[in-house]
């Protein structure tokens, strides 16, 4: 699976708000590297009032780091999804300890 590296701290706008990639990191896990991204989403133009969330997205095991570029000139990495629920549980625990202020961790 391809993972496109969006510019850090840049607003990606959509209807009702925007999100940002705040940080990207590689987690050493059982001899492999896992790519994750800390993101924030803010719905500041919604009719029912503003709100948002910070979350960590885990694309998966890194198989190649920034090995190509997409048509927009952005770096692209290759990842393999983490589907095993036990592994997800372990990874979630490590990231939750490292980023104690973030409550939402999801896997692609």
């Amino acid at each position: 699976m391809k993972y496109v590296h969006l510019p850090l701290d840049e607003e990606i706008r959509s209807i009702g708000g925007y999100y940002k990639v705040l940080e990207e990191g590689l987690l050493d896990f059982e001899g492999r590297k896992i790519l994750y991204a800390v993101k924030g989403a803010n719905a500041e133009t919604s009719c029912c009032g503003p709100g948002g969330v910070g979350y960590i997205n885990v694309p998966g095991y890194l198989t190649s780091w920034k090995s190509s570029k997409n048509e927009g000139g952005l770096d692209v990495s290759e990842v393999k999804r983490i589907r095993d629920s036990e592994t997800q549980k372990k990874v979630r625990k490590i990231l939750a300890e490292r980023y104690s202020y973030i409550s939402v961790i999801d896997f692609d």
Binding site: D9, P50, G52, V53, G54, Y101, S103
Partner: protein, 486 residues
């Protein structure tokens, strides 16, 4: 030629990583992670808008004779008094002559640029000269609010003159709009804001361009003529849009220091201006926009005199002098956002004798000492009788300001029993350079920074706050001189 003759800046020493705030309060407002990058400058427990404005003003008058100061204007939305002119406190700390015009500017966040315009008008009209304008803010957002992450503390000051100007004033354009994006009622401690979208799209998105266009039309210049473009806007997307609208080259747009200091309210544009002047070259055209309840747009052109200005600490020097505040609760306690028990000693009643305060106001505010006209002996506190046993002259004294002379530590102690919002309280005896010895609190330091014989500089600080009567009293404290970043 009327314009800016000198500038100064001040950023408090403590910096709080915004992620520490988010780590503590993000559970309540998760969207705040978007504003949790970088750090905010935090005033020490004994600092406020008045002390920071004073520090910037002192930096501004470096190399100038304070007796020539022809006016002092103070701009802030967080002044320590609603009735008691804070400009007089700043002027007093500068040891300026009392026969000058002093004024406070407040209300909207453009108060800083409005104060600067008022000084330019006064000097231009020939009614004053060498007017010091100092803007400072120390605004508070509630815990878990966006503002708590967005706001920072700091100050900037300028001397406005008709001689030796480093930046000539070429013109201005102002607007006043009852546009309520941020507000605080008369009794409110915390800022409130309306929807971000509205502030971004209407506030910054319309009023800043309106002011820039108005100035350019009035002065016959194009937006792209400016070498430095200064405007406050903490929304990255809105800044990009404004820059694109005017085809501003990114390197010409002054950094708003949001990730290093935070939004300093009425001081924001002026701190950016002070920072820009540190790197400005003769001939640079500068655009400065103050925003809040409307806009002030000002046009300056840098002159050759900037190459001859005495070196000063400035914004960059203040930024370099930093230390981490790694404790969110300490920040809350210092800003009196949470009740804290400082023990029985903290409950002691400290009356302010205003008569005594007035009688000694030059000694207290201006750190004015006495110097014997017969033998030259300097003494602080000022004396009527010369302390030199070989002299003993009576009523032969002339005043001398010692706040900028510094001193050396004669003795010091660290006291865990004394009531303090930043224990241990550190105090001791300081030998003032050229004469005089007095007991001072030490601040902006740890006990490890103190040593007998170590040089200190003096800093105007809150001596104590009387919560019962809402009285903030000021005096000078000693700060160990640190040459390098900590």
């Amino acid at each position: 030629m009327v314009g800016i003759r000198s500038y100064g800046g001040y950023v408090p020493r403590f910096r709080l990583n915004k992620m520490i705030i988010f780590g503590a309060m993000g559970w309540l407002n998760p969207a705040n992670i978007m504003n949790a990058q970088g750090e905010k400058a935090v005033a020490n427990f004994d600092e406020d808008s008045v002390t920071m404005a004073t520090a910037a003003a002192i930096d501004c008058v470096t190399g100038f004779d304070r007796a020539d100061i022809g006016g002092v204007y103070f701009a802030s939305t967080t002044a320590s008094y609603r009735e008691r002119l804070c400009a007089n406190l700043v002027a007093g700390a500068l040891a300026a002559d009392e026969g000058i015009r002093t004024a406070d500017f407040a209300g909207g966040l453009k108060a800083g640029t409005t104060a600067l315009l008022a000084a330019l008008d006064a000097v231009g009209a020939g009614n004053a000269n060498d007017v010091v304008v100092s803007a400072s803010d120390c605004r508070l957002g509630k815990m878990a609010s966006v503002q708590e992450l967005m706001f920072g503390d700091g100050a900037a000051a300028f001397m406005v003159s008709d001689k030796d100007v480093i930046a000539e004033f070429k013109g201005s354009y102002s607007t006043g709009h009852d546009f309520v994006d941020h507000f605080r009622g008369a009794e409110a401690k915390y800022d409130r804001q309306w929807e971000e979208r509205w502030i971004r799209d209407v506030g910054f998105g319309q009023f800043v361009p309106e002011a820039i266009n108005g100035l350019c039309e009035k002065c016959g210049v194009a937006p792209t003529d400016f070498a430095k473009i200064i405007y406050p806007c903490y929304y990255g997307g809105a800044r990009k849009k404004i820059n694109k609208t005017f085809a501003f080259e990114p390197e010409k747009v002054q950094d708003n220091m949001q990730a290093a200091i935070g939004d300093t309210g009425s001081a924001q544009s002026l701190m950016m201006l002070a920072s820009a002047l540190e790197e400005a070259k003769p001939g640079d055209k500068m655009l400065v926009v103050g925003y809040g309840s409307g806009c002030d747009a000002l046009f300056f052109e840098v002159t050759d005199n900037i190459t001859r200005l005495t070196p000063r600490r400035g914004i960059s020097g203040s930024l370099a002098k930093r230390t981490d505040l790694d404790n969110y609760l300490k920040y809350l306690t210092w800003r009196r956002m949470v009740p804290a028990d400082t023990g029985l000693r903290g409950e002691e009643q400290k009356w302010t004798r205003w008569t005594l305060q007035w009688r000694n106001h030059k000694m207290i505010l201006g750190m004015e000492a006495s110097k014997c006209k017969k033998c030259g002996t300097q003494q602080y506190p000022p004396q009527r009788i010369c302390v030199n046993p070989e002299c003993g002259a009576i009523d032969e004294m002339e005043p001398v300001v010692v706040s900028d002379k510094g001193g050396k530590i004669f003795s010091f102690t660290s006291d865990m029993l004394a009531a303090s919002l930043n224990p241990p309280a550190m105090y001791g005896t300081v030998d003032i350079n050229d004469g005089g010895r007095y007991v001072f609190d030490f601040t902006d330091c740890s006990i490890d920074d103190l040593a007998v014989g170590k040089p200190v500089e003096f800093s105007f600080r809150i001596k104590y706050y009387d919560a019962m009567r809402d009285i903030t009293n000021y005096f000078w404290k000693a700060v160990p001189v640190a040459e390098e970043a900590e």
